[in-house]
Amino acid sequence: MVGVVVFTHGELSKALVDTAAFILGPLERTISLGFAPSESEERIMERLQSAIRAVDDGEGVLVLVDMFGGTPSNLSLRLLEDRKLEVLTGVNLPMLLKIGSGREQRLSELASAVREVGISNIRLASDFLKGR
């Protein structure tokens, strides 16, 4: 099974994973990882690498980060070259619910499917009403 690391600024990742678990029950092979503003990059990188190792059973790992260009994204992208890894930015709750409700696909397919769910769940409610 593809492993999942949710990696964000502050406590956001923990809240997202806990909230997904509240809706679906605990997510398998999923770790949340945050960091404090004062933490050095070296230390955050070590914690990221050990989180990835902890969820990887050989099928690869999907790392979901909060924002492209932020530290979680910058550090994860540096690992792309030497690991079986996909990095997906802009994590939201529907993406985690998708992951929690089934993870049979291979890494690259899962990453694309989760991206689609994340994008399609961003709606402007007034547009929705106009279409009625």
Partner: protein, 158 residues
């Protein structure tokens, strides 16, 4: 090249730069002065990809910054210069780079350092480097993001 901000930030280009300092300074160029990134094309390309499309990222070695500033294309170009360490800032200054203010954003724990703000840790070498820059006329502040109240050097360079 018109310098909008010169900053020491262990994380170089990251969320605070993209979301706070680029909009605040209206910078059109980010100059990353860092030897490790200058040797690592992959890290350099990540940095280039994560800024808004109208902003360019230039990566130079620390000792190349002075000549890069001189070659800077136009006076209308507004730049943010980033160093990963205080020592790099001093090296660049002493090899001719021009800046009259230095912002300390994130200087994380490193050997011998003690905490002077939530995100800045200084050791004795840093303090003496900052004092040298200050004596040369560089004004030094601690400020993580543009909306923070700046902490002036007088409060941490005792």
């Amino acid at each position: 090249m018109n310098i909008a901000l010169t900053r020491v930030d262990s994380r170089l280009v990251h969320g605070q730069i993209v979301e706070s300092w680029i909009p605040f300074t209206r910078a059109t160029t980010i100059v990353v002065a860092n030897d490790a990134v200058a040797r690592d094309a992959w890290r350099a390309s990540i940095m280039k990809a994560c800024v808004p499309s109208e902003v360019t990222v230039q990566v130079v070695r620390v000792d190349e910054l002075a000549s890069a500033q001189k070659a800077g294309r136009s006076e209308t170009q507004s730049a943010i210069v980033l160093f990963a360490t205080i020592q790099d800032a001093l090296t660049a200054y002493e090899s001719g780079a021009l800046f009259n203010q230095l912002n300390l954003g994130n200087v994380h724990e490193h050997p011998g350092s003690r905490q002077v703000s939530p995100t800045v840790y200084l050791n004795d070498d840093d303090v003496s480097a900052l004092r040298r820059l200050e004596r040369a006329g560089v004004s030094i502040e601690i400020r993580a993001v543009s909306r923070d109240k700046p902490l002036p050097a007088s409060s941490f360079l005792r």
